[in-house]
Structures are given as structure tokens and as C-alpha cells.
């Protein structure tokens, strides 16, 4: 027994002196190792919606435009070499590059785009994210089966390489919208080979036969283990793609992921938990990235329940939250949010939510609860047991208002169900923008929107939002959206808490990976530069 143990120990020591780390090897081979949290729900880009799928789709597919490697509000060229709006930003003409090819060598044509948009909007397919295409004239009516005639939708193909998109109104920010993967083409010849246009579960996108038009194509897939993509030789800009491949690892546990990073098994992690952030700050600050992200943490108030139906109560609760203190002590890399929309480009959100305990007490007292007396014991619904921030807010409400709330934990789907059926008092929520424009944060508060979930319904807000759809001048539009957001913040159906940060670990050998608000790095410009690494 002892002899066996000694031999094993010796073997291990021998092994340990020889091997280069996986990251070093991958760097040498030009393969980027990325933590991606989970496997995608599907390889069919038109039926999925999440961040995980979108990380993969950026490698495999390409739309009319690409995200820029370092600038948020700039679009890099994609399949279209030219994309021009008319003077009202309503009709957009796309000219496709003739050398754009699918990974089987067949040309990407205007018809592939038209087909893709028809497919995602076909009601039978049940594509969850079809709403993103409602920017196109007639798209909503077609998707909701109010008409079966796709020619009513605003896409007109002129010839193999040219088409125009007619939108529902002026959309100066349309290039940002087009970066969303729902606008990518799908290979018509493959989709129709394996099924009909509106067929759910069409097998064209099985990983071993997936045909795509992006810089990479699928090389191998093993469930819950990895997805590897390799260079697509038919990609129009293949000569400028620096990586030879990318390996996506579905690591669900953030601590396992950071251990793998420290062990030299990953170039980029999907996230870094607060404890990991603290540890890395001390031990390896060069690898730690804390970057702004297009997302907001906020609390929804159920405006259909007493006493939260009283705007004074909602405002009081919102004013009693010390966001600076939360961001300094509880969150890592998040910014105090004074509005729902994070500041982006030229849009500066209104200062509608702020910490003012005195005013908060006054409002609560006016609402009939002086010093919190007689205030019912409300429940604050959460889904993440580890989050410490609700406890901090609970303490702040107790301290500043004399109000006692109870924290209630529910498992993820039960939590979602309670939120969506308004079966809660206050719920800790979050929202991530689909594209960089205030609209993606504001339109959810329309009364009919499936994501409102507060019971809040305000005519003025709806009218102003609708008005913004008709404005061409970007500056005037932002002013109107700011006024719209102010209405919402004054009514306080929600209390913004913090603008999210993206915390993750990045290996120093990765170059060309710059902070982006949507975290949508185009892999084409990423490069791996070998260097001395140390394992700790």
C-alpha cells in the first residue's frame, strides 16, 4: 500500500514538472478559451435569446453590420458594405458584399436576409425574440398573424445583393438595433432542406451540419463540455481574422470558473463573483476587469397593492435607499443608479432617483405612516440567496423610515412567476438592454408590455413614448425620451438601485478585447500574444 502511494506521488511530481498550461498551449495555437456559463438552448440563431447564445452567435453568424471592437455606438461593416438611410431614417438601403459566403461556399444573398426575416416573424415558428424585428413596417402585424401576406412587411429585395428595409418610423439608431443577432441571416438552402419555413424543431441547426456565415464555423461539440469553432475559410474577411478558433466552456459555477482561470485553463471568464473580485484585487489585479455594462438592478413595486398604490409611499421607499453606500460596500464594480437607463453616448438620464432620508420620512408621513407607524410588513422578493444587497436595503429602510420589510426567497421560476403575475409586494429585478438606446429600457414600462410587471399604467408616458417614434432629429428625440423617463421616475413604479458592471477575468495574453457596454466583442479582432505566465 505504502509502495503504491509513493509511486503515485512520484508520478504526479514527475508530471507536474513537464506540462505547459492549457492557456499557454491554446495561446500558441491561437485558440481562445472562453467561459460561457452554459450550453446554448439551440444552435438555431432565430429561436434563442440569451447572452450565452449571443456570445456563440457572434462567432458563427454575421449580420448587415458588426459590433465595433472598441467603440460602443459605432458599427463596423458586416455583410453589407454600405448601409444608407434616407433623410428621415425610415428607409434603409443595404448593399451586400459579393464575396460574403456561407461556410459551405454558397453566396450570402439578399434573399437569405429576406427569408431569415420572414422565418423569424412567421407565427408558427414561435421565435421568442421576434419582437426585435417590429422596427420593420408591418412586422408586428405579420408576426401576430393579423396578415398572412409577407409582402406587407417592409423588406424589398432589388436583386441578389441589394435590398431595402422600410421601418415603422424614423430610427436614427437603427445600426445599433441591427447589431442584435435576431437580424442575422440564415442559410435559406439549408433551412428548407431540413424542413419548412415555420417548422419548430427544424434540424438544420444540429451542430454537426450547421452552416453559418460568420468568421468561424463549428468544429466540435460535446454536451456540457465544450463547443469549439474554427476559422471559416469562406468568410469574406478571413485573412484579417487573427484567431484560429474559440473554445466555449459551459462552466456554470463561477468559483470553479475562477479556479480554472487561475490554473491556466481559461483566457476569459464569464463572470467573477464579489469574493473572487476581492481576491484577485489583492493577488492578480492585472487580470481583473470591472467594466460598465448595459444593465440596471432595480426594485419593482406592485402598484396594485396597498400601500404601494400611493406614489408617496413608493417615492419614500426609493428615497430611503443609499445607493452610494450600496455600491461602495456591497456591490463590486456597479454604479449608483439615479435612473433606469444607464448613461450611454449622448443620452444623460434624468436624476429621478436619489437618497434623501428627510424628504422620504416626510412623504411617508404624508401618506399616513409617520415614522413608519402603521406601515404593513411588506415582503421583498428575491431569487438569489447569496445576494447581500437586499439585506442592506432592508436595514436602510428600517433605519431611515422605521419600516420593516421581510425578505422572501423563491426559486428562479417561482420567483419569475410571482413577478409576472403580480404576486409580490416589492421584488428585486434587473434588466439588460438589447441595444444601446434608452428605448430598450423605457418601452417595457408601457402598460401592455409583458415585462412591465408593476401594474403601473400612465397615459402621458405612453403618449410621449409613441411621439418619440416619429422624431428624426437624434438630439430632440433624446430630449423627449428624457422627459418620458422623468415621468416614470417621478411616479416611481420602480426604484433604480445600481447600473451593472461586468466583472470578469481576462488573461494578459488576450489583446484587442476592449470594454464594451453590451459585452459583444467581435472575435475577428481579438488576438493572442504569448507571454511569460505564472500560475498562482
Amino acid at each position: 500500500m505504502i509502495r503504491l502511494l509513493t509511486t503515485t506521488a512520484l508520478c504526479l511530481c514527475l508530471f507536474s514538472c513537464q506540462k505547459e498550461s492549457q492557456v499557454d498551449k491554446a495561446t500558441r495555437e491561437g485558440i481562445l478559451l472562453i467561459g460561457n456559463s452554459a450550453d446554448p438552448k439551440s444552435f438555431d440563431p432565430q429561436v434563442v435569446s440569451g447572452v450565452i447564445e449571443s456570445n456563440l452567435n457572434r462567432a458563427l453568424f454575421e449580420g448587415l453590420v458588426n459590433s465595433h471592437p472598441s467603440e460602443d455606438l459605432t458599427a463596423a461593416p458586416g455583410v453589407a458594405y454600405e448601409l444608407t438611410p434616407d433623410e428621415t431614417y425610415t428607409v434603409w438601403t443595404a448593399k451586400l458584399r459579393p464575396d460574403a459566403r456561407w461556410s459551405d461556399g454558397i453566396q450570402v444573398t439578399a434573399e437569405d436576409f429576406r427569408f431569415a426575416y420572414e422565418r423569424i416573424l412567421t407565427p408558427e415558428l414561435g421565435a421568442k425574440y421576434s419582437e426585435m424585428l417590429y422596427f420593420m413596417q408591418g412586422a408586428e402585424a405579420f408576426n401576430k398573424a393579423q396578415t398572412k401576406d409577407f409582402s406587407t412587411v417592409g423588406i424589398k429585395v432589388a436583386d441578389a445583393l441589394n435590398f431595402t428595409l422600410t421601418l415603422r418610423g424614423p430610427t436614427p439608431y437603427f445600426r445599433e438595433v441591427l447589431k442584435h443577432p435576431t437580424w442575422n441571416p440564415v442559410p435559406k438552402h439549408m433551412v428548407l432542406k431540413y424542413g419548412k419555413i415555420g417548422q419548430i424543431g427544424n434540424q438544420w441547426a444540429k451542430p454537426h451540419r450547421l452552416v453559418s456565415n460568420g468568421p468561424f464555423r463549428i468544429k466540435s461539440f460535446r454536451r456540457n463540455d465544450h463547443i469549439e469553432v474554427e476559422r471559416n475559410p469562406y468568410y469574406w474577411d478571413a485573412k484579417n481574422v487573427k484567431l484560429n478558433g474559440i473554445r466555449f466552456l459551459p462552466i456554470s459555477n463561477t468559483f470553479t470558473e475562477s479556479r480554472m482561470f487561475r490554473d491556466g485553463q481559461l483566457h476569459v471568464t464569464y463572470s467573477a463573483a464579489p469574493d473572487v473580485v476581492d481576491y484577485m484585487r489583492k493577488h492578480d489585479p492585472a487580470s481583473l476587469r470591472l467594466e460598465p455594462y448595459l444593465g440596471t438592478d432595480f426594485y419593482r413595486f406592485n402598484t396594485t397593492r396597498k400601500p404601494l398604490d400611493d406614489v408617496r409611499v413608493r417615492r419614500a421607499l426609493s428615497m430611503a435607499i443609499d445607493r452610494d453606500s450600496l455600491c461602495a460596500n456591497v456591490y463590486r464594480g456597479f454604479e449608483p443608479a439615479y435612473a433606469i437607463t444607464p448613461p450611454t453616448g449622448d443620452y444623460t438620464p434624468p436624476r429621478g432617483a436619489f437618497f434623501d432620508p428627510e424628504q422620504a420620512r416626510k412623504l411617508l408621513s404624508e401618506a399616513g405612516f409617520p415614522d413608519g407607524k402603521g406601515f404593513p410588513r411588506l415582503k421583498l422578493l428575491i431569487s438569489n440567496r447569496e445576494a447581500t444587497q437586499p439585506v442592506a436595503v432592508q436595514a436602510q429602510w428600517r433605519k431611515h423610515l422605521g419600516v420593516e420589510v421581510e425578505i422572501e426567497f423563491k426559486e428562479w421560476t417561482a420567483y419569475l412567476l410571482a413577478t409576472q403575475t403580480l404576486d409580490y409586494d416589492i421584488v428585486a429585478s434587473g434588466w439588460i438592454g438589447d441595444f444601446i438606446d434608452p428605448l430598450t429600457f423605457l418601452e417595457i414600462w408601457s402598460p401592455g408590455n409583458g415585462n412591465n410587471n408593476t401594474g403601473w399604467d400612465n397615459r402621458e408616458f405612453v403618449d410621449k413614448l409613441a411621439e418619440s417614434f416619429q422624431i428624426t432629429d437624434p438630439a430632440a428625440r433624446y430630449d423627449l425620451l428624457k422627459a418620458t423617463e422623468t415621468i416614470m421616475l417621478n411616479e416611481a413604479p420602480i426604484a433604480p438601485i445600481a447600473w451593472r458592471g461586468k466583472n470578469y477575468l481576462l488573461h494578459p495574453s488576450v489583446k484587442g478585447w476592449e470594454p464594451l457596454l453590451l459585452d459583444n466583442h467581435p472575435y475577428t479582432t481579438v488576438e493572442l500574444v504569448p507571454q511569460e505566465t505564472k500560475r498562482n
Partner: protein
């Protein structure tokens, strides 16, 4: 013997049927549905999706359809949230990994646990006994989510040849197998120590000693057979548990095994996957128990 086998087999079938039925209805009592998502799915889309998977039908119709597919076509169905993936595909992909890891852990558990228990029993109340007992107590008390990360940090990060996680190189087996094996070794050590102590006090052992049979021979030839009965009874279900994967071990060491599906399927409300996994696990348990019963009969003449 044959009668016993047949009766056990029939009992097994009945157990599995009750299991399927209970699971089918229980999973549908959970709040939420497979379509509950953070961004609400528009109503007109939701309708199409439910019609496609048949979840819009009344429960008895769904149940009848499920049983029919299961019995007639041996089809466990498709995943609801993942497009075009079959439940059987998920099990077929992940079970071999869990089986391999389970067998390796079982090997470690047997090689460490049983000798430790037997030695402890033979050297009762000696420092060796206390050492074995403390080791066993440690294994029972320390959960895998403590041992796993500790091993990963202190062995995985320090030794370059061992990765902290992953399932690619042969050395990737070491940490998860040791973690899972250690915990089961601890139980085995305690059970075999207890069993051996019982047997060592019996008259026939005393007789053997009186006849001058050497100590080692008494333990191996005479005592071991009876002393291991409690451990063998434990091994059946423990083995089924080990080869069907462990959520904790798999997430700590990033292993594409079956254990994580048990947990994720529940939180995703992936009804058919839960049913498929429970059925498969039930099948393993029934099978392992049957084998454990047979092994006990082989070890214990009084059961024959």
C-alpha cells in the same frame, strides 16, 4: 432462487410504474412552467410553443401520451427548452461519464474504506482504530462541497499536472474520484468496522482461535464474509448513486456528467428530462438493490 428473482423483478416493475406516475404529476405541481422566462414570452408565441410540445392538452391526455410513447416507442421524449434535443440523448451523453467517475470513486472507496474498517475492528481501541475512526468521521461530516474545492485549491492549483477542473486528460479523474471516493470510503469504513466487530465476537471465531488458526487467516477466511454484510447492503444503493452522478462534484470539477441534470432539469422545469432521469435512476436503484440482495445471499448462508 428463481422464485425470488421473479418476485423481485415484478416488484421492481411496479416500483418503476409508481415512480413514473408520481413524478409525472409532481413535477407539474411545481410553480412555473418550462416557458417561464425572465423576458416574458409574448402570448401569441407562447400559444404556438405549447401546442408544439402538447403542454396545452389536459394532464390525463399528456400522461397517456407519455406512457404510450414510453412503452410502445421506448421514447422518453424531447427537451422542451432546448431545441430538437432528445431526453435519451442527454442521458446517453452524460451517463458514460458518470459511470466512469462512479466506478473510479467506487474503486477508491472499496480500497480505502474496507481495509480501514477491517483493520480498525481487528485492532479495536488501539491508536490505529482511533485514527481510522477519526478519518471516517471526517469523511462523513465534511460535505463534498467543502472537500472538493479544498482539493482543487491545494492539489489542483499546486500541481501543474492536475487541472482544477475539466474532463479531458486522464489526470482529470483524480480529484473528483478522490472526493467522491473519500466520502463513501468513510461510510464503508464505519460499516465494515461494525460488522467485523459483531462477527469477531461470535463463537465460531473463538473456536477457530482455540484451534490455533493464525490471526490473518481467521480474519480473511472466516470473519470477512460475515463482517462485510452491512457494507454490501450499503454498497447497492450507494453504487447506483455514485454512477448516476453528483451535482456538487460535477459543478465543482466541471464534469459533463448526469448529476447536474437532476438539479438543472428541476429549476428549468424540463418535465420530460426530470421524468426520464428519475426513471433511469429508479431503474439503476432497483437493479443495484437486486444485485446487493443476491450478494448478501451469497455471503450469508442463513438467507438461503
Amino acid at each position: 432462487m428463481l422464485k425470488l428473482l421473479v418476485s423481485r423483478f415484478l416488484q421492481g416493475l411496479l416500483t418503476l410504474f409508481v415512480l413514473i406516475t408520481l413524478t409525472f404529476f409532481l413535477v407539474r405541481l411545481m410553480p412555473g412552467s418550462p416557458y417561464t422566462e425572465e423576458k416574458a414570452i409574448p402570448a401569441h408565441i407562447l400559444e404556438r410553443m405549447k401546442a408544439y410540445t402538447g403542454l396545452d392538452k389536459p394532464l390525463p391526455v399528456q400522461y397517456a401520451r407519455y406512457l404510450k410513447n414510453l412503452i410502445v416507442k421506448q421514447d422518453l421524449g424531447d427537451l422542451i427548452r432546448k431545441d430538437g434535443v432528445k431526453v435519451s440523448e442527454v442521458i446517453a451523453d452524460s451517463f458514460p461519464v458518470s459511470l466512469a467517475l462512479g466506478l473510479a470513486s467506487m474503486g477508491i472507496a472499496l480500497m480505502v474504506g474496507i481495509p480501514a474498517g477491517v483493520i480498525a475492528a481487528v485492532k479495536k481501541n488501539s491508536p490505529t482504530d482511533f485514527a481510522c475512526l477519526s478519518f471516517a468521521m471526517l469523511g462523513i461530516c465534511l460535505p463534498s462541497f467543502v472537500i472538493g474545492p479544498l482539493l482543487a485549491v491545494f492539489a489542483g492549483l499546486k500541481l501543474q499536472s492536475i487541472n482544477v477542473a475539466g474532463w479531458n486528460s486522464p489526470t482529470d479523474w483524480i480529484l473528483p474520484a478522490v472526493t467522491l471516493g473519500f466520502i463513501n470510503a468513510a461510510y464503508l469504513a464505519r460499516l465494515s468496522r461494525g460488522g467485523m466487530l459483531d462477527v469477531l465476537n461470535q463463537d465460531y471465531i473463538r473456536t477457530a482461535k482455540a484451534k490455533g488458526v493464525p490471526g490473518r487467516k481467521i480474519v480473511i477466511r472466516h470473519a470477512l464474509r460475515g463482517g462485510l454484510i452491512p457494507a454490501v447492503a450499503f454498497l447497492g444503493p450507494a453504487f447506483a448513486g455514485m454512477i448516476s452522478g453528483s451535482f456538487v462534484i460535477e459543478t465543482i470539477f466541471q464534469i459533463p456528467g448526469m448529476g447536474q441534470h437532476f438539479v438543472n432539469a428541476v429549476s428549468d422545469k424540463e418535465y420530460l428530462l426530470i421524468q426520464g432521469l428519475v426513471l433511469f435512476y429508479g431503474f439503476l436503484i432497483v437493479g443495484a438493490n437486486l444485485i446487493a440482495d443476491l450478494a448478501q445471499i451469497a455471503l450469508n448462508p442463513r438467507l438461503r
